[in-house]
Structures are given as C-alpha cells and as structure tokens.
C-alpha cells in the first residue's frame, strides 16, 4: 500500500495510487487492476474510486476523439505547456508533429 507523502505522489495527495489505477485500467493485468481498485477504496473511499474510474474512462474516450479527428491543441495551451511537454516526452509521441498545436 502506498502511503500519503510518498515521493511518488508527485506532490498530489494519493498521486501514486491514482496513477497506479489509471495505468492498470488501461492494462491487461486483472489482478493489478483489482489491487489498485481496492487500495483506492480502502484509503480514499468508494466515492473517490468511482470518480477516479469515471475520469480515467472518460479520457480514454476523449483521447480517441482528439486523435481520430486531428484536432490540434489550442495555441495558448501549447505555449503554456511547451517547456514541460518537451521535458516529459509528449513531443516525442508519434502524432506530435501533426496534432501538437493549431497551424
């Protein structure tokens, strides 16, 4: 179980738990997903679990809307995030050249 204040939280309370669940829900390991689910429910509560599942599921869908339409990121958002998008590797994604920001 991951504790509060864990450096892996990235400064966000229970961040490591949430990342674990988001990773597991897109993965193929049913046991890991069950463990991640039970961990959030035990520590953060059932409502936090279902809201986390709702957000993860919604973004799994909205990513497809963006990628299948070629909709670009708004210029203002691209400029505001330019530094860390490069740092964390988003600019290296396969579609970055085509959909990184509005032409």
């Amino acid at each position: 179980m991951v504790g509060n204040g864990d450096p892996r939280d990235g400064g966000i309370e229970n961040g490591a738990r949430l990342i674990r669940f988001a990773t597991a829900v897109l993965g193929d390991d049913a046991g890991e997903l069950k463990a991640a689910r039970e961990d959030i429910a035990a520590v953060m509560g059932g409502a936090a679990l279902t809201d986390t599942a709702a957000v993860a599921a919604l973004f799994n869908a909205i990513d497809r809307v963006a990628d299948a339409t070629g909709i670009p990121l708004e210029d203002v958002k691209a400029e505001a995030t330019a530094d860390f998008r490069a740092d964390i590797g988003i600019d290296a994604f396969a579609a970055a050249d085509e959909k990184g920001h509005a032409a």
């Binding site: 897109l26 599942a53 709702a54 973004f59 809307v65």
Partner: protein, 247 residues
C-alpha cells in the same frame, strides 16, 4: 431492455453518472444523423470486438502499424472500411495520422459517417472503461430501434482539423447554434465532432458527468468530486500519456 444500474456495487456511483450512462444507452439504439439504430449498435459491437483482434494486436506491437498486413477479426456486420476505422481508433489511436484518414476518404469513406461512428466509439469506450475499472462486465448493448437517419449536415468547413468542423461563429443563426450555447469559447476538442452536432451533444453529456462541467474545470476555489482538481488532472494526464495523445 438493459437497465444500467450500479446499485449492487459496494461503492457509491454518483446518480448523475448512472443517468448519463442510461441516456447514452438510449441514444445508442436510436437512428442517428447518418447511421440507423442498427448500424450504431453494429459500430458499438465492433468496437468491443476490436479488443480481441489479432491483426490489431500485431499492429500495436509493430514499429509502424503499416508494417503489418492482414485482415481484422470482425463481426461481419460492417464494411471493411468501417471495420478499419473502428479497429484503429479503438486499439491504436495514438498513431492515427492524416494520411490514414485521407486514405479512408480515398477508399470511399463518407466523412459524416466517420464522425458519427467516432461518436459511438467514444461513448462505448467511456462506459466500457468505467465498468472495466470497477470490475464489472460490459453492459449488454441495447436493441436497435426503427427509424431513418436525418442526414442533416451543418455548415461545417475544413478549417481546424482533418475533419470538417462547425465554428461557433458559423453556427450563429443556423439550426445548430444551440451547440455552442453557454460555451462562447468552445475548446477545440468540443468542436472536433461538430460535423455531427448530435455526436458532440451526446458525448459531452458523458464529459460533464464523468469529468466536470465547463464552469467547474477552472473553478479551483471549489471541488465538485470526491477527488480534487489536481487529482482529476493527474488521472486524466496519465491516461492520455499512456494513449500517446498529444491533445
């Protein structure tokens, strides 16, 4: 008739999420703008079938999806072109490109059908991923209802994305101006499927309930969910990174 309910789960699911999922299931079986109810159900079923497609698995593992040729494992209810669209969006969205999209068009894909199909895929992914995350089986698909598509096209133009979109200013004074009511600065993602306004309205019914309503997104003085803004964006960002989504 499937009645979506999360009451048997040991964890509380907000009533607005349940209600949104029920509305989505009701819309799914109805005739749309370019697809019949039966075709919409077929798209939904194909979206699920794609997850077990061997060709899609092989392509996903390949350095380039174009390096692997073959046939999709499919339900047999849709054309090869529609199957290719659905499977690629369902299983490898991060590597979709303009060339792939234009290849579909050159092979006869109708853009309006492409966008409505995408809307169905998005609804299925949003709801199926939710049930999967909570350890539930996917809901049985609803029955198709009779009816013909209206085939009503808005004043959309190719301007923002690969697909034509309806700009907020172009919607003013048309039958579709309600699409942007309350959203004077509609984000690009909101405009993405505006070639089929009903697809936008349907999908964003899920967005505001599974994620946040527009007025809540930047209201950092208040929290609207059992996880806070930072936690919501962390989850969203992680999922998008795993999907290699640039947006």
């Amino acid at each position: 008739m499937t009645e979506i309910s999360y009451q048997k789960l040991p964890w509380e699911v907000r009533d607005d999420i349940t209600a949104a999922h029920r509305r989505a299931w009701q819309r799914l079986g109805q005739a749309g703008i370019w697809l019949t109810g039966a075709q919409r159900i077929a798209v939904a079923g194909e979206t699920r079938t794609a997850l077990d497609c061997q060709l899609c698995r092989d392509r996903k593992d390949a350095l380039s999806p174009n390096a692997v040729q073959g046939s999709h494992d499919h339900t047999g209810q849709l054309s090869d072109l529609e199957v290719e669209q659905i499977h690629r969006i369902a299983t490898d969205p991060g590597r979709l490109g303009r060339d792939w999209y234009e290849g579909l068009l050159a092979s006869g894909m109708v853009e309006e059908r492409y966008v409505e199909t995408l809307g169905v895929i998005a609804n299925i992914v949003a709801i199926d991923t939710f049930t999967h995350g909570l350890g539930l089986d996917p809901w049985p698909l609803p029955e198709a209802r009779p009816g013909e598509p209206t085939r009503k096209r808005p004043a959309a133009r190719r301007q923002l994305a690969w697909v034509p979109t309806l700009a907020p200013e172009d919607a003013i004074g048309t039958d579709d101006q309600d699409l942007y009511a309350g959203r004077p600065t509609a984000a690009n993602i909101y405009q993405a499927m505006s070639l089929v306004p009903a697809a936008v309205k349907g999908f964003f019914d899920l967005v505001v309930n599974q994620y946040l309503p527009p007025q809540a997104m930047r209201d950092f003085d208040n929290e609207y969910r059992a996880i806070n803004h930072a936690q919501i964006e962390l989850v969203a960002g992680r999922v998008s990174a795993l999907n290699q989504c640039v947006y």
